[in-house]
């Protein structure tokens, strides 16, 4: 008896954390795992785009005159938008830049904007939501009204109205040569300002119920400070929600960036981004459909994959919400 007991304890001393339990559930969700793989693949390709292009000896800005037919409206030579062993995804009509190079460099731009904006708005949303839910009363009331205002605000129209002139001013203020740098910073800032409110509201309502749990009272009875209760007792329970929100807001910001660039108020030529590529491609959608379909499909695949990861994460961390799989 004593012998078996000893074996048992040494084998299972380290506990399974709620993270571990969530991951174990996530692992058995095949759709979510595949989506996670796709998302990671996209991120890797985007952030390794420079070395990849160096190895392949491609340049997103280089114009390959030999790949376009100067007699046929400068359309790419060959079927499928000029797909060949040199240009894997064809070349751009008109100028002959490599589509693959532009796609993965553009992915880096688009993904960076989406990731930075998501992380910033999640950080702000979590802190503000925690403060509103924890302190309740007047603080909550004031924050609640600000959130109402931000959520009711027609963000997109405001971005259309002010993004261009503000980007120009910011460029002057920062003294940078490339206007796109100013645009990226501006987009991140503006999208963050309007992006944190939704999560803050979610977190607030979670905190309102969480703070009534007795472990908060227990921390208080030990003399814990507000900061300790907020960041050490309450915050760990909110990470799953933040991760779900991240995987849902990433595709959101990805499409917003693409839409803004598409409308000509985001990233501008010649810097590639998925929105810029779509904007360029729309005019040629009928003559060179491949050129349009490639960035569009890529965007759809990544957005769908990220959304499915989000669903998988929320399933994994909320076992009560049992789905038939």
């Amino acid at each position: 008896m004593a012998r078996t007991k000893k074996v048992d304890t040494t084998q299972a001393v380290a506990g399974r954390s709620p993270w571990r339990l969530g991951w174990d559930r996530f692992r058995f969700n095949r759709v979510a795992m595949v989506s996670l793989g796709i998302s990671i693949f996209f991120f890797l390709v985007a952030y390794l785009s420079s070395p990849i292009l160096a190895i392949l000896n491609l340049d997103p800005y280089a114009m390959d005159r030999s790949a376009i037919d100067l007699d046929n409206f400068n359309n790419p030579i060959g079927p499928w938008g000029g797909i060949s062993t040199v240009h894997w995804l064809g070349v751009e009509p008109g100028v002959g830049r490599d589509v693959f190079a532009r796609l993965i460099i553009g992915a880096r731009t688009s993904i960076t904007i989406a990731t930075v904006t998501s992380v910033l708005s999640i950080s702000i949303g979590m802190v503000i939501g925690l403060i509103a839910g924890y302190f309740k009363g007047r603080v909550d009331e004031a924050i609640g009204r600000i959130i109402d205002l931000l959520l009711a605000f027609p963000t997109f129209f405001m971005l259309i109205a002010i993004a261009r002139p503000m980007a120009e001013r910011l460029q002057v203020a920062l003294g940078v040569d490339d206007k796109n740098i100013a645009t990226i910073i501006l987009l991140v800032v503006l999208l963050t300002i309007f992006g944190w409110a939704g999560l803050a509201r979610l977190i607030r309502s979670d905190v309102l119920s969480l703070r009534e749990r007795e472990f908060v009272l227990a921390a208080e009875s030990l003399g814990a400070s507000h900061g300790r209760i907020i960041f050490k007792e309450l915050l760990p329970s909110l990470w799953p929600k933040a991760i779900i929100f991240l995987s849902l807001s990433l595709p959101g910001f990805l499409t917003t960036e693409a839409a803004l660039s598409f409308l000509g108020i985001g990233i501008q030529e010649p810097m590639p981004s998925w929105g810029v590529m779509l904007e360029m491609a729309v005019a040629k959608a009928y003559t060179v459909p491949t050129y349009f379909l490639i960035p569009a499909t890529t965007l759809i695949i990544l957005v769908t994959a990220l959304n499915l990861v989000g669903t998988g994460v929320s399933d994994a961390f909320d076992p009560k919400l049992e789905r038939n799989q």
């Binding site: 001393v13 380290a14 506990g15 709620p18 472990f215 921390a219 030990l222 003399g223 814990a224 329970s237």
Partner: protein, 367 residues
């Protein structure tokens, strides 16, 4: 033994009732605790009993200033802590602790057991000899947990084990006083005894004083030296354990005790039971005079007008009642002739005052 470690005088704890609309207006108060006074002596266990919603847990929480009392005075170890700020209370938190009712909600599910029991040391900046980890493992051993389970999470423990974790956390800083807020009511009966015995042992070892909040009369009888009975935010009766269980004088205490079933089925079927009619009145709008009068079998006109003070009827025995009932049996005999209702064979109906007394509808049923 003579100095009270905690002295509460006329403690009031009101929660505002807000009506939300365009403007949030206060429409009243939930008088959860409405003027209670009690002393907890060095080394004793004071049981605080009452039915659900009578304010006993609120009183326990207010006693160690987890709530800001509306009125009254709380003196802990000679120091007035009624209006002490968070900062002033901080050092005192090492002296007074609490064990919570729900072992599933009182432990943070995202922290390991080691981290939970180490929290008191971290928060108070105490560096125990031999390091925090060693101290935590000693505590785990002391409360009957395997110290090797240091890195496990609360979800891997049973209710009883979780409550042991809660006890370990509360004794980590060697307090002198612990509020036990229904520490065993969420546990299986077989586990209850183990935890109660653990609390008993720890009390002897660390010379602790307990305020034991509970609704289970048999558990309170087991652990308490003195018992206070609460009803709707007021203390009805307070005395030493043996007197309370053997010769209660307040009608409410008598009703409460008669609700405890007897283990002997024959005795059980033959005994008199007082069944209280109706529900606990709303603490937002408590009855005038004595709060218990609406359900009291013995209520008279006076009870609706004048609120009885907690007065001493014998040394160390205080009750808040105008008409203390010396003996249950005797009272029934006195009351019987007054009733002109035909008596059904299986039940005796008492006290249907036709001419005087407050509202009727209180039955006295027995076999």
């Amino acid at each position: 033994m003579t100095e009270p470690i905690l002295s509460i005088t006329d403690l009031q704890m009101y929660f505002p009732v807000m009506k939300t609309g365009l403007r949030t207006v206060k429409t009243g108060d939930v008088k959860a605790v409405d003027g209670i006074s009690l002393d907890v002596m060095q080394g004793e266990t004071l049981g605080l009993v009452g039915e659900s919603g009578c304010g006993k847990s609120t009183a326990g929480r207010a006693a160690i200033r987890l709530l800001n009392p509306t009125g009254g005075k709380i003196v802990f170890e000679g120091q007035d802590i009624t209006n002490a700020s968070r900062r002033e209370l901080r050092p005192l938190r090492t002296r007074m602790q609490m064990v919570f009712q729900d072992p599933y909600s009182s432990l943070n599910p995202r922290h390991t057991v080691g981290r939970i029991i180490a929290a008191p040391f971290e928060i108070q900046g105490v560096k125990p000899e031999g390091g925090i980890k060693k101290a935590v493992q000693e505590l785990m051993e002391r409360v009957g947990l395997n110290p090797e389970h240091y890195n496990r999470y609360p979800n891997e423990f049973s209710g009883g084990q979780r409550q042991r974790i809660g006890v370990a956390r509360s004794i980590a800083l060697r307090p002198s006083f612990i509020v036990l807020d229904e520490p065993v009511s969420a546990l299986d009966v077989s586990i209850q005894a183990q935890v109660v015995n653990l609390l008993d042992d720890i009390q002897k070892e660390f010379k602790l004083s307990y305020l034991f909040v509970a609704h289970d009369l048999s558990v309170v009888r087991h652990i308490s030296d003195r018992v206070a009975v609460m009803y709707l935010g007021h203390i009805m009766e307070i005395t030493d354990r043996d007197t309370l269980y053997a010769a209660p004088q307040h009608p409410y205490t008598q009703a409460l005790l008669s609700a405890v079933p007897l283990p002997d089925p024959i005795a059980e079927s033959q005994r008199e039971r007082i069944l209280l009619q109706g529900d606990l009145p709303s603490p937002i709008n408590p009855p005038s005079g004595c709060v218990f009068r609406t359900r009291c079998v013995f209520a008279q006109d006076l009870c609706a007008v004048d609120m009885p003070e907690l007065r001493e009827v014998a040394p160390g025995h205080k009750i808040a009642c105008h008409f203390p009932q010396i003996s249950l049996q005797k009272q029934i005999e006195i009351r019987r002739p007054h009733s002109d209702q035909p008596m059904p064979p299986s039940s005796i109906q008492v006290d249907r005052p036709q001419t005087s007394g407050p509202a009727s509808g209180r039955d006295f049923v027995g076999e």
